[in-house]
């Protein structure tokens, strides 16, 4: 019943069903594909920009970083979904019963799940980076751009992507505890991350004060943590849009994870299992 055993059990739960590798394969293919397209588009814009003499919308030195950052910018929904489904499946398949019989310390179980998902989330980050650096880098190389694979900035990005993806998975755990209905959490996660948040972020650029608020949106905070994102690149980083410091972005994600988990623990996790 130690926390180590609890974490190992939670990791075992993840890897003994098919969901984790199905999501992982889709993540890889999706990120590699989008990073490839971004590499092509940014590469072409960069060429054109210099050809016409106008300043390019993306600083040429950041091109590779923006392409590589698509690992989180579009991939973060995958660890988020994995975390949410890992928690809600316990409710859906009534496996909370054997789980709490084996370890009646419910707070420890939820913590162990968060830690396990952080580990697997980081793994998702590594695979997403393989996709973005592989797919994006391939196109950058073809279009004659620099890859900067051994740059310190690239390695900073790699480290932050791993942290961000781990945090997104932990947010998923909290969200699942907060909204134990699997279908509901699925719809909410997809609707918010793919639709609502991008719109809100775009709208937040209208006024200064909304932009100040907008930088705290989860996706914006995640992009801030990573430091580069195609989203902010397209919106025009130079236009003075406020962005959190990378560590502030990380703290915002951590705070969301903690708040969701604690409220979820108090409202659903601690309840009678009938």
């Amino acid at each position: 019943m130690s926390i180590v055993n609890a974490v190992r059990a939670e990791v075992a739960k993840l890897v003994t069903t098919r969901l984790w590798w199905i999501l992982l394969i889709v993540l890889f293919v999706y990120v590699a594909f989008v990073a490839g397209i971004l590499g092509g588009v940014f590469g072409a814009i960069a060429d054109q920009g210099t050809a016409e003499g106008a300043p390019p919308p993306v600083a040429p030195g950041d091109l590779h970083l923006i392409v590589y950052s698509s690992a989180t910018a579009i991939g973060y929904v995958f660890p988020l979904l994995l975390g949410a489904l890992a928690t809600t499946s316990e409710f859906r398949h009534l496996t909370l019963t054997p789980t709490f019989l084996a370890n009646p310390h419910r707070g420890q179980v939820l913590s162990a799940k968060a830690i396990a998902l952080a580990v697997v989330g980081a793994l998702y980050g590594a695979v997403a980076l393989l996709g973005s650096i592989g797919g994006g880098g391939l196109v950058l190389a073809i279009t004659g751009q620099e890859l900067h694979l051994v740059d310190s900035e690239t390695w900073v990005l790699v480290g932050r992507v791993l942290i961000a993806m781990a945090l997104w998975a932990v947010i998923g755990v909290g969200l699942g505890a907060l909204i134990p209905n699997q279908v509901a959490v699925l719809v909410i996660v997809l609707a918010f991350t793919q639709f609502l948040e991008p719109i809100l972020r775009s709208l937040s650029f209208v006024a200064d004060w909304t932009a100040q608020v907008g930088q705290f949106l989860p996706g914006a905070a995640g992009d801030a943590l990573v430091g580069w994102s195609p989203f902010t690149a397209f919106a025009g980083t130079g236009a003075g849009i406020p962005t959190l410091e990378w560590w502030q972005g990380g703290l915002v994600l951590l705070a969301i994870a903690l708040v969701a988990s604690v409220i979820g623990y108090l409202t659903t996790w601690k309840r009678d299992v009938t």
């Binding site: 019943m1 059990a9 499946s89 398949h93 019963t97 009646p104 009678d272 299992v273 009938t274």
Partner: protein, 315 residues
């Protein structure tokens, strides 16, 4: 398996809002025998068991294993083995992996997984996903989970439900063996007939309250006798004078022993003879145990009879 452990339930109470599911339940379950935990559907059996196991928080009262509450046990799965009615499996996970996960969480030797799968007859299907299992196989897997920690106490909720006749025979023998090994075995059922061959001791609840705690033989004594005479009034007077409780029955009078006493058809006949009353009907309780069970749980009143019968036919 470690030392013998008793289950002690004291004043256990659970209210869901204004509804009282379990009221002031007190009983203890001894090692070395199979104890039946009986009552009609909705009597509060499952709620009681889930309170026992720390899954449902009691409104008041306590339930302990050798004096320790479930949530305070240092090694819960190695102390209490549990199979609850709801089949709690991820359909996409194999049977062996299902068990391995909880063995890992509870720090139980992973080699136990193979062992308990063999014990319940699922060794061949351990690598198959649980989603394709029949109800009987799921019941066996639930039992394998209960045995995982080789616990001195077993709490099994309706373990016979869904088993085929061969499976029912198997589990009866199995429960016996577990009790003979000195374990404390508590088996719930809503059908007395299901467990009467394997149970040594019965705890019966109805509407959340304890109505009987004793041997099955003890349950049968106090049975009733149907009796009638052309001179019904004289018969009633004679029986009442002899201390027998008399009620108007369906086919005449129903004679019941006063609390704590036995009453047989022969005794009723004797009383009538001594009083000089000629009888037109004398019939011992036909249902025996089952009828006594239905009576004690209050499910033998006319509106409920059909329901009880329907339940009986379903097994």
């Amino acid at each position: 398996m470690s030392t013998a452990t008793t289950i002690d339930v004291a004043h256990l109470t659970k209210n869901f809002g204004a509804v009282s599911a379990v009221s002031d339940l007190t009983f203890s379950v001894q090692p070395g025998r199979v104890t039946g935990f009986l009552g009609p559907n909705g009597a509060g059996k499952t709620t009681t068991l889930r309170m026992l196991l720390g899954l449902v928080a009691p409104s008041s009262g306590s339930a302990t294993f050798g004096g320790i509450g479930y949530r305070e046990l240092s090694r819960p799965l190695a102390t209490v083995g549990t199979a609850l009615e709801a089949s709690s499996f991820h359909p996409g996970r194999t049977a062996a992996n299902h068990l391995a996960i909880y063995a890992r969480a509870a720090a139980i030797d992973p080699a136990r997984v193979e062992r308990v799968l063999r014990q319940v007859g699922l060794a061949e299907v351990g690598k198959r996903r649980v989603g394709g299992f029949s109800l009987g196989m799921r019941q066996r897997l639930g039992l394998a989970f209960a045995l995982l920690g080789d616990p001195p106490v077993l709490v099994l909720d309706e373990p016979i439900n869904g088993l085929d006749p061969e499976g029912i025979r198997w589990i009866r023998v199995f429960l016996r063996e577990l009790a003979e090994e000195g374990r404390t075995v508590l088996v719930s059922s809503h059908l007395l007939s299901e467990v009467q061959q394997s149970v040594d001791h019965a705890i019966i609840i109805a509407k959340g309250r304890l109505v009987y705690d004793g041997t099955l033989d003890g349950l049968e004594t106090g049975a009733r006798v149907e009796v009638d005479a052309p001179d019904r009034a004289a018969l009633a007077a004679a029986l009442t004078a002899a201390g027998v409780v008399v009620e108007q029955g369906e086919h005449g009078l129903t004679a019941a022993a006063p609390p704590g006493h036995e009453l047989s058809a022969a005794q009723v006949g004797g009383i009538a003879q001594r009083a000089g009353v000629a009888l037109s009907l004398l019939s011992g309780e036909k249902g025996g145990l089952e009828a006594a069970f239905l009576r004690i749980t209050g499910t033998d009143s006319p509106p409920d009879t059909s329901e009880a019968n329907a339940d009986g036919g379903r097994s």
